[in-house]
């Protein structure tokens, strides 16, 4: 359920970009990624119950997504930084899951192809923004720094998951460092794994913008109890 919530919440955030992207091609790309994530969320949530009940009837504290994915879109650099951190993580996670024999293996096998595309998209933009103009470099570096403290939570152990999440931290950091190096960007300093907030989202403790995001997402469904759509 935690992985389903990650995908659902990030899909919701990316859906906010529709019609607002810097170029039409990005309207297509960001919506495409959102759709992939929504597809993953639907499959994962359906494993534990009714997808709509879970998405629309839970309170904020019942969601188990990491705080990283609920962060507001900000500018394009903020969105790309969030996407880079998360898609590299998802690629490692789904790769490991696909190889294992758990019930998530078939899903992960399918999703890992989508996620490789998301990671490539985020990398390509990290390179362009990092090694583009002075302004884009500055914005990208700032976005990476702002979101850094939310990355530690990705690697907190998750009960019942067939993958040892802490073990993914080193390869994740190595890959991020590789991309940032090519993009002439620096890996942010400061706490990631030991940040005070690490693990909070997985326990149902979220950041302030999350409540508003849910209010918007759930209002119509909640306004018509028992209706089907």
């Amino acid at each position: 359920m935690a992985l389903g919530d990650d995908a659902l919440v990030l899909a919701q955030r990316l859906g906010e970009w529709a019609g607002n992207a810097p170029v039409l091609e990005e309207d297509v790309a960001l919506t495409n990624i959102a759709l992939d994530l929504l597809g993953q969320a639907r499959t994962l949530l359906s494993l534990t119950g009714d997808e709509d009940e879970l998405a629309f009837r839970r309170e904020a504290h019942e969601f188990r997504n990491v705080q990283l994915v609920e962060q507001p879109n900000g500018d394009f650099a903020d969105t790309i930084a969030r996407q880079l951190y998360f898609s590299v993580y998802q690629e490692l996670l789904y790769g490991a899951l696909a190889e294992g024999g758990s019930e998530l293996a078939p899903l992960a096998g399918k999703a890992v192809k989508e996620v490789a595309y998301h990671r490539d998209h985020a990398e390509q933009w990290t390179l362009r923004l990092g090694d583009g103009t002075e302004e884009s470099h500055r914005r990208m570096q700032r976005a990476l720094g702002t979101l850094w403290r939310f990355t530690g939570e990705l690697f907190e152990p998750l009960e019942g998951l067939a993958v040892e999440l802490p073990a993914l931290h080193a390869p994740w950091r190595e890959r991020i460092a590789g991309v940032l190096g090519r993009a002439t960007l620096e890996i942010p300093e400061g706490a990631d794994r030991t940040a005070w907030s690490a693990g909070a989202g997985r326990q149902g403790v979220h950041t302030e913008p999350f409540g508003r995001m849910l209010a918007e997402m759930q209002y119509l469904h909640r306004a018509h109890p028992g209706a089907s759509w």
């Binding site: 659902l8 919701q12 859906g15 906010e16 529709a18 019609g19 607002n20 992207a21 810097p22 170029v23 039409l24 091609e25 990005e26 309207d27 297509v28 919506t31 495409n32 959102a34 759709l35 929504l38 597809g39 969320a41 639907r42 949530l45 997808e51 709509d52 998405a55 629309f56 500018d75 394009f76 390509q124 390179l127 362009r128 923004l129 090694d131 583009g132 103009t133 302004e135 884009s136 914005r139 090519r182 918007e216 997402m217 209002y219 119509l220 469904h221 018509h224 028992g226 209706a227 089907s228 759509w229």
Partner: protein, 338 residues
Amino acid sequence: MTTTVTTAQADGHATADPHALAAAFDAAVADEVRIEPRDWMPDAYRDTLVRQMAQHAHSEIIGMQPEANWITRAPSLRRKAILMAKVQDEAGHGLYLYSATETLGVSRDDLLDKLHAGRQRYSSIFNYPTLTWADVGAIGWLVDGAAITNQVPLCRCSYGPYARAMVRICKEESFHQRQGYELLLALSRGTPEQHAMAQDAVNRWWWPSLMMFGPPDDESAHSAQSMAWRIKRHSNDELRRRFVDICVPQAEILGLTLPDPDLRWNEERGGYDHGPIDWAEFREVLRGNGPCNRERLERRRAAHESGAWVRQAAVAYAAKQREAGRAAGHGADQEAGA
């Protein structure tokens, strides 16, 4: 591709007689030969196509806004996925249509600048607000339905790139239309509140959808010439009647009424007569005074302006890569080896 026109050009008229070219063009159009980008064409034909195709492309991308307005609030995950896919398709349609328009010698950037400056139009329908979830269904059923009625004949339009773009677009549009209809059907057969929501949406979208076919035939400035050039195949009123005839039985199946007390079957003509359209409203919307004209254009400009630094970054990066490629003495850029 050999058309009558290129044959005429190839016959050795280096300084071709304009009358001969025009006559060959007219003959090609009359013979249903597709005009292609490198063929000779009258300036006015080119201008008309640029105007119409650009407006069509702009409508796709402005049309993302009223629907995207509901992506974050869609009431089920299935509906959210359908809506996201639809908005994504619209961006794709915009891209096809800008490419097709570029074959006439204009650039996408230039067309977008004209849209942002208010010098090129988009469909009047997108100046109406989406106030409830049912509007998403009404747009699918009525607005996409009207668009398809307009666009299917364009698949046989005399200009090849436009006709081919329309073939691809119409396939996807019909799919969206069915999904919109199905959304309304679910609401209409749902709770009393859902039914009322569906009826209210149809009440608000019906007349604006009829206006999508343009002014009545006796007031349509471009119609006669466009029909002679086979850009257009049917008159505005003819297409509008065809659309009404299709919608009336569909509304009955939906269990919803159309907001027109004068709507009735005309035995003699074998079709439905509808009541008078409020052309004063239509003209106001075209003049920029519809409910959302300002917001739609502002939103589009804001997206473009706040994305300027991103586009500049992409250009600067590409230039650096080319430079690095040259310095390394070959064309491969860093990424290719990464």
